[in-house]
């Protein structure tokens, strides 16, 4: 599975420490052997001497007794072989040679045995180029809690149902470590804009880094704190004034620093030649004064940096607000641990008419509420509450069947399309899109 290549660092993967240095410069999808010590070496495919060569096979297992004594090598023996530096393939050959009933197994059983041992003893890793597919599978397999248990086929549905494509303006609200955001960015190819609406202090985007997008993709990414949504919708958001939120203490310090700067321009100018002369002095008093002004200078520099950062943040906020103000976004994607109903109702207002929206929830009930609310409010059509069922198959000659385990659930989606809001007629006047009660009664008695 994939990892982020970082030179000079040690990473742990599947309980092994690996240095990725030797991977740098190699092509993606190269398979590496993990040498003892953790360094990587490109793996040479040796097709010679498969462990199955010149081994006979049986026809069935009627005479094979599972007494745990078939393998003559002990665990210590195998450890000794490993320490000797024997390669995975050779260890497997030794296991086969020392297996009392290997020749009695059917051919299929032998192949299965080898496959199992390969997984255990072959020490290789393949480094893959990241993509939405690979990252989504990885997150779902290893860290589903971080992505609200969003299964990758559900993510695939979201991207298509929301008609994510280059050149559009998409609103995203997600708490999936940035996986959903990154996937959307991948499908936009650096064209158009993506606005991440975020709760709390700042947008979470760790997952986006894993995609390895070129730098210019980040120019299309904007963020907007949801605590300002109501003000923006009401037209009362002032993006020119200083930020009234959590930066109050910083603001005070900023103001103080700004004042100080204003009060001291003359002193500063005088200070410079004074400082210079002081620096040439080696007297103690002079030294102390120099320290003081050095400290002040540092404070000022820091305050200046802070001021610039704040101004930049204000500028970005104003720019994003301008993107949102027109209420002409082309798509909305929601996937979070927050109750989807208020999020959806709040953010739908930013969409143009005839544009898609998709809401993901790990649980179905919140989406049922959304569905009902949307019906009441009007302004949307083609509402669908769905989930997908996914099943993998083993395809081998005479051994084709679905895999024994399958994913129990991948979450639910509510999707729909906005339409022009009609203020003259109440939403209820249109014939209900749900089946008439008559049909429903019939079904209930049938069950």
């Amino acid at each position: 599975m994939s990892n982020q290549p970082i030179t000079g660092k040690k990473v742990i993967f599947e309980k092994q420490w690996i240095f990725l240095d030797n991977a740098v410069g190699q092509l993606y999808s190269t398979t590496f052997e993990i040498l003892s010590g953790g360094n990587l070496k490109p793996h040479e495919l040796k097709d010679s001497a498969s462990p199955l060569d010149a081994v006979e096979a049986g026809t069935d297992n009627r005479n094979i007794v599972d007494d745990g004594k078939s393998q003559k090598l002990t665990r210590d023996d195998i450890e000794a072989l490993k320490e000797k530096g024997l390669k995975g393939q050779d260890i497997i050959k030794k296991l086969v040679d020392n297996h009392a009933t290997f020749g009695d197994k059917t051919e299929y059983s032998q192949v299965k045995y080898i496959k199992k041992k390969k997984k255990k003893y072959e020490n290789t890793v393949m480094i893959l180029k990241p993509s939405c597919r690979i990252l989504a599978m990885m997150y779902h397999g290893r860290e589903p809690g971080k992505i609200c248990h969003l299964r990758y086929d559900t993510l695939a549905q979201m991207l298509t149902l929301a008609n994510i494509h280059a050149g559009s303006k998409v609103l995203v609200f997600e708490t999936c470590a940035g996986l959903v955001l990154g996937s959307i960015m991948e499908r936009m190819g650096g064209y158009g804009s993506v606005i991440q609406m975020y709760p709390g202090g700042g947008p979470v985007r760790a997952g986006v880094e894993s995609f390895g997008f070129p730098a210019h993709f980040h120019d299309t990414l904007h963020e907007f704190p949801i605590c300002h949504v109501n003000a923006l919708l009401a037209g009362t958001l002032d993006t020119s004034a200083k930020d009234p939120t959590a930066e109050n203490t910083d603001e005070k310090q900023l103001n103080l620093a700004a004042e100080k700067e204003q009060n001291q321009p003359e002193a500063e100018e005088q200070g410079t030649p004074e400082e210079e002369s002081m620096e040439t002095n080696t007297g103690d008093d002079a030294g102390q004064d120099v320290e003081k002004t050095e400290k002040d200078k540092l404070k000022e520099a820091k305050a200046q940096v802070k001021k610039l950062r704040l101004e930049e943040k204000q500028r970005r906020l104003a720019a994003t607000a301008a993107l949102l103000k027109g209420r002409n976004a082309d798509g909305l994607v929601i996937a979070s641990r927050f109750h989807p109903c208020p999020v959806l109702l709040g953010l739908l207002k930013f969409l143009s008419p005839s544009r898609p929206f998709v809401v993901y929830s790990q649980y179905i009930e919140p989406l049922v509420e959304c569905f009902k609310k949307l019906r009441e409010c009007g302004g949307t059509v083609n509402l669908r509450l769905t989930d997908t069922w996914m099943r993998h198959y083993q395809v081998l000659p005479d051994r084709t069947h679905p895999l024994l385990l399958m994913s129990g659930g991948g979450g639910y989606l509510l999707s729909g399309t906005t339409v022009a809001t009609d203020h003259s007629k109440p939403a209820g006047s249109k014939q209900a899109e749900e089946p008439a009660p008559k049909r429903q009664k019939l079904e209930d008695t049938e069950g």
Binding site: L27, A156, H165, A166, Y191, P353, I364, D387, V395, A420
Partner: protein, 294 residues
């Protein structure tokens, strides 16, 4: 309007989608002076459509509905069926598993609803090479691409992919096969794909086809061969009323509770979901593989 770019207002020559009701969606070619008959009455393009916003309500003699901007998803539901088509659920999964994105070069055999979805995803810098062996269908589909303003992104070739391949060499990031004998096209797919590799998908309704295809993929050196199926379950949201049983007066209730109180709460109403009596149980098996660097 185009299938790969949004616009706000309906114009002469656009293809618009009339959303009549859930599961009743109709495409219409917008033309100055034209009329279209719907179950709610007649609509006149010049007054009802041209110049109106996409998403607007259109009122007719017998009712009203909305006009929507076309998307590949709506097109899939609305398009005139010429052959069995792929639906959005499979299309979405294929799109992600083939790693399609703006700039991708794709080869496809068996053009139809998937083509529009691919074009939408690879625009503006990608290209689709689609092969259709039925001449009439090839012509019709080329016409549609033009109408939908996506023809600059696609090349239609009328040939047999199993005999003559895709008509390109070493350019494709992804190949999609929706044909009866995909194992005969695997070699051609390999030739069409880039040297540094790419992704392949084959869609087959029958397991025997899948087996043969997997064998061919293995022989041709493809890796990561995997077969999956995806199915959509649609939940109907309902408000139901469940009657409560009457076990007679409760002997433990105090005398304050009047016997007449019982019928007041005769049922509980709740919002819930149900599934349809029947649902699509199978569309086809999706086999994916990676062509390694050659």
């Amino acid at each position: 309007m185009s299938f790969v770019e949004y616009s706000d207002f309906i114009q002469d020559g656009d293809v618009a989608i009339l959303y009549l009701s859930h599961n009743n969606v109709m495409p219409v070619k917008v033309q100055q002076g034209a009329q279209t008959q719907t179950r709610y009455g007649v609509i006149r393009h010049s007054t009802d459509l041209i110049g109106q916003r996409y998403g607007s309500k259109v009122t007719c003699s017998k009712g009203w509905f909305h006009v929507l901007h076309p998307t590949p998803e709506l097109w899939t539901v609305a398009l005139p069926h010429r052959t069995q088509i792929l639906y959005t659920t499979d299309i979405a999964f294929i799109t992600m598993m083939l790693e399609l994105k703006p700039g991708s070069i794709v080869c496809e055999s068996g053009s139809g609803s998937l083509s529009h979805a691919i074009l939408r995803t690879i625009a503006p810098t990608g290209h689709l090479h689609t092969v259709e062996f039925h001449q009439q269908r090839a012509e019709k589909v080329a016409e549609e691409f033009k109408e939908h303003r996506v023809d600059h992104l696609v090349t239609v070739r009328n040939q047999d992919v199993c005999k003559d391949g895709f008509g390109v060499t070493g350019v494709a990031d992804a190949v999609f096969l929706d044909i009866p004998s995909p194992w005969d096209a695997v070699g051609h797919a390999k030739v069409a794909m880039k040297k540094h590799g790419g992704r392949l998908c084959s869609f087959s309704p029958c397991i025997e086809q899948v087996q043969k295809t997997c064998e061919a993929l293995q022989d041709q050196g493809f890796e990561d061969i995997s077969t999956t199926e995806v199915l959509l379950r649609e939940h109907d949201v309902r408000t139901v009323s469940l009657p409560l049983p009457d076990f007679g007066p409760d002997p433990e209730t105090t005398e304050e509770a009047t016997p007449a109180a019982a019928p007041n709460h005769a049922s509980i109403t709740l919002k819930t979901t149900t599934l349809s009596r029947e649902m699509p149980g199978h569309t086809g098996y999706l086999t994916f593989a990676t062509k390694p660097r050659t």
